[in-house]
Amino acid sequence: MLAILQLGDDAYAPNIARHLDATIDRSVSRGALYSCLNQLERKGLLRWRVDEPTPERVGHARRFYQVSARGVRALRIARDSQLMLWRGLEGILGAAK
């Protein structure tokens, strides 16, 4: 969901996978990626729209994802929870890069 927010209007599955690969150096299998997107979509955390099919895609539409308002709320809650847990651990883990 963070990758989708960062990609903005260009968030479709191959781009999301490339973005994750480039930013956190993690290769995501396509099965896991589509499964995850589908589950987030079913939970109402993501929304999608389709674009015009291009010749490169042999007539298949491109599905762009965007984080819904509910998804943004869920991300805020998750961030706040994580920040609470990270607090006070700089002595052990060092400062964040």
Binding site: Y12, P14, G31, V50, E52
Partner: protein, 185 residues
């Protein structure tokens, strides 16, 4: 040179057939097929045709396996409604779009009812009721009065035939519709 002019620059077709069977949702399947084709073309430019085909097969089989597993476990891989449709709407044969849409909804719901297991149970129940009512009508009729007996008999037989016909339609046609619907046909 475009990919269409050279068959070597196309991904293996059996992967497309595999995904057609593995992904019941037409919209999601369309997007995934497009994504895979686009990635295949990028891979061809980056690493060559042979490795691109290997990667494509790996991706397609991974998606199919995950979709089948997820569908069996939690009935997922079915899309919600899109946020906004950018693609131009398909030309509809219906004279009135609202009427066409509502007719489509009714047809889908009827198909869903026919495909449901509960409807098969209902049909079997109807057969049982038909047999019971038929027996009751025959027993209630006066055996010494041939006219009453024959009227009750005709009514009972008609009811029984209707029940059997309904059950046959549901058992034969209903599951087939359901299979077609799951395949996205």
């Amino acid at each position: 040179m475009t990919h269409a002019s050279n068959p070597l620059l196309e991904p293996p077709r059996w992967t497309q057939a595999l995904l057609l069977h593995a992904l019941p949702d037409e919209s999601l399947r369309d997007a995934i097929l497009g994504d895979l084709h686009e990635e295949f073309l990028h891979d061809v430019a980056d690493v060559g045709v042979r490795r691109a085909r290997v990667r494509h097969v790996s991706r397609a089989t991974g998606i199919a396996a995950r979709a089948v597993f997820d569908s069996a476990v939690c009935q997922s891989w079915v899309s919600t409604e899109p946020a906004a449709e950018v693609r131009p709407a398909a030309v509809s044969g219906a004279a009135h779009p609202a009427f066409g849409d509502s007719l489509l909804v009714v047809l889908r719901r009827v198909r869903a009812i026919f495909g449901a297991a509960s409807f098969s149970i209902l049909a079997l129940f109807a057969v049982v009721v038909g047999v019971v009512v038929n027996t009751m009508l025959f027993s209630a009729a006066e055996p010494r009065s041939p006219r009453a007996s024959s009227a009750a008999g005709i009514g009972g037989v008609a009811l029984l035939l209707a029940s059997v016909a309904l059950a046959a339609i549901v058992l034969c046609v209903g599951p087939r519709w359901r299979r077609k619907r799951l395949r996205g046909a």
